[in-house]
């Protein structure tokens, strides 16, 4: 056997020797010198995209959301919106240090009104003295959890847009570190991520008023081919959160994931004995279970069940919509908008989230390049409130006709009766065209 190995080594050596004088055949088909120019490293990087998104929506004049806005009933019942966005991203590296920034300018014209804003989504300095240690300071989006549409353990991240969960989110001002170690054996990776999150005027005000400091940490392990995270959030902002998540591939085309969070002193909107909507404070559990499955015909299915223990109960949600109806009737009959103002305040605080209920199902099926049509991906998304059976359906088609240009047509159609979560949303349907050019 040793002799055979020696012979193979000899063959490899001969192959190397043969390489020296022999020119590679037919290389003019591939211009390697041009390719080598492309891969030269630079200390800086810059890019971004420009986006235009016109949309048309049919308003549901009987919905609670419409009535809360007390919109002019004399309109044609449609909302026309034109959004434009310019996103700029850049970084600069020098030794172990790097600066990163992501900013966006947005302009919106809706019903004849212009609205403009510019935001720094992220801007931070990172230091990486070794591959196993890094420190970051500044405004940074810290995203935790294995869920696609929701993240119960995302204690220090802004809520995702469930209709577009892959969109970038703005960060919070943090001081964070990453300590990573790799091992041989069942425990392949261990990573510890501590985060300090200060709160002051104009700094992280989502976490309450005054000046104080919160702390969060995540311990990640890749154990027996399973991602496992333990996360904690504590501080003077009130609620504390403790969570765990996991993700694992079951087969070459199936992966499962889940999250479990326990949040103390969470505010839950509920009607009291006197019929007033108040915020109850209680410890709650939130959980998510999901699967990602690729079928033989290249359809990717993502399905998630989300239990939000801090959400409003279905019967209380129904009572809230009845309250809005009463308030609107009072406004129409007498012009008195006091009750409507109360309903608006509740909507803005307790029910301000797009999915305020307790039990949701998210399902997305996307078919990559059907019928051999490259760069086309039709998809269908559905979000269902399991407590009242109402739902939102979102068919879409994405197409990239040329490099760096993405086009997407997306529709949103709601289904649900009176006093249901989705049934009381503002739009009966919405049609949106998005063109995004990367540079």
């Amino acid at each position: 056997m040793t002799r055979i190995r020696g012979m193979i080594a000899c063959a490899a050596l001969v192959a190397q020797l043969a390489a020296v004088p022999t020119p590679a055949p037919a290389q003019d088909e591939y211009d390697f010198s041009e390719l080598e120019r492309e891969i030269r490293t630079k200390p800086y990087a810059f890019g971004g995209f420009f986006e235009l998104t016109p949309s048309l929506a049919a308003l549901d004049r009987e919905s609670a959301a419409y009535r809360l806005r007390a919109l002019d009933p004399g309109g044609d019942g449609y909302s026309r919106r034109y959004d434009a966005a310019l996103r700029l991203e850049g970084s600069y590296r020098a030794g172990i240090a790097a600066l990163h920034a992501r900013a966006e300018g947005q302009a919106r014209r809706e019903d004849g009104e212009w609205e403009r804003r510019a935001i720094l989504m992220e801007g931070y300095l990172s230091l990486r003295p070794s591959p196993g240690l890094s420190i970051e300071a500044g405004k940074k989006a810290v995203k935790w959890g294995t869920g696609y549409a929701w993240n119960p353990i995302g204690f220090i991240q802004r809520p995702k847009d469930v209709e577009d969960p892959e969109e970038a989110l703005s960060g919070y001002t943090v001081l964070a570190a990453d300590w990573i170690r790799s091992f041989d054996g069942p425990l392949s990776t261990l990573a510890f991520t501590p985060v300090i999150l200060p709160v002051a005027d104009h700094v992280n005000e989502d976490f309450g008023g005054g000046r104080h400091v919160n702390a969060a940490a995540k311990l990640y392990a890749l154990l027996w081919n399973t991602d496992i995270d333990l996360a904690v959030f504590v501080g003077e902002s009130g609620s504390a959160g403790y969570g765990v998540d996991f993700a694992r591939n079951l087969r070459s085309n199936v992966a499962v994931h889940g999250e479990l969070a326990y949040v103390t002193e969470a505010g839950i909107p509920a009607f009291d004995g006197a019929g007033a909507l108040t915020m109850e404070t209680s410890d709650v559990v939130a959980a998510l279970a999901g699967v990602r499955w690729l079928t033989e015909s290249e359809i990717t299915v993502i399905a998630e069940y989300y239990h939000n223990g801090g959400g409003i109960r279905a019967d209380d949600l129904e009572r809230y919509f009845a309250l809005v109806d009463c308030a609107y009737d009072a406004f129409v009959e007498s012009g008195d908008c006091a009750l409507l103002d109360v309903a608006r305040r509740v909507s803005g605080s307790a029910l301000g989230r797009p999915h305020p209920g307790r039990h949701y199902l998210y399902a997305r099926a996307s078919w990559k390049e059907p019928f051999d049509i490259l760069y086309v991906t039709p998809a269908a998304v559905s979000i269902v409130n399991l407590a009242d059976g109402s739902a939102s359906f979102m068919p879409e088609i994405s197409y990239s006709p040329v490099t760096n240009l993405d086009l997407r047509v997306q529709g949103v159609i709601k289904a649900g009766g009176d006093n249901t979560d989705f049934g009381e949303k503002l739009n009966e349907w919405r049609l949106e065209l998005r063109g995004r050019f990367f540079f």
Partner: protein, 242 residues
Amino acid sequence: MRTLFVALAMLLAAPAARAATPDEILAAVDRNLAPETYESYRKLVNIEPDGSKREFTLFTVKKGHDKVASLFLAPESEKGRTTLRLGENMWLFIPAVGKPIRITSLQSVVGGVFNNADIMRLDYRTEYSVESMEDLGATYVLRLKAKTQYVAYDRLTMTVDAKELVPISIECYAATGLLIKTLHFKETKAFDKGHRRPAVIETDSPLYKGYRSIMITIAIKERSIADEVFTLNFMPKLEGIR
């Protein structure tokens, strides 16, 4: 004189390689395709039936038998996307999403005929065992079977150049026996320290009639890389080790 020496050496080497076992030939094929631990730059080109092309540039690092990480350098719409493979586990990091998500080996992050397993390929002997081998003189035909259900293709038929011990073509089959794609290895050229390796892999598939995908290795060299580079937490930072 040198040419004569090379010809003589190759004549001597050919029967030597032929005496090797199927497993040793597969091991030699793996090493002749790439070092065990390396960094590389590759270009993926998807060619449509009308001749139009879509190109992607990738920086890839691999360590040992089961760790691979890739970073998209171009086009702009994909820039910063990072894929990580640790054995049967795969993740995709999209800068806008901001966290790695688990993906499956059969999915394709770039479209076209190449899937994730092709882009983040491990050594063949890591994922496959040799079931049988035919010696056809100028070539060997190795029939390989996946070691686990996590592997993208259930069976491979690998035709190996008996002289250079590099693959000429690999047919990839699903468990049902369906031919998913065929990889054609071309343009053997000298890379790091003069090692001759196929620089071009062309792919066609009966599932994508008329479409072709090409993977061109621009540069490849051995490199010492820390284990911590192959972790989820490092995925957003992969650009920093170029």
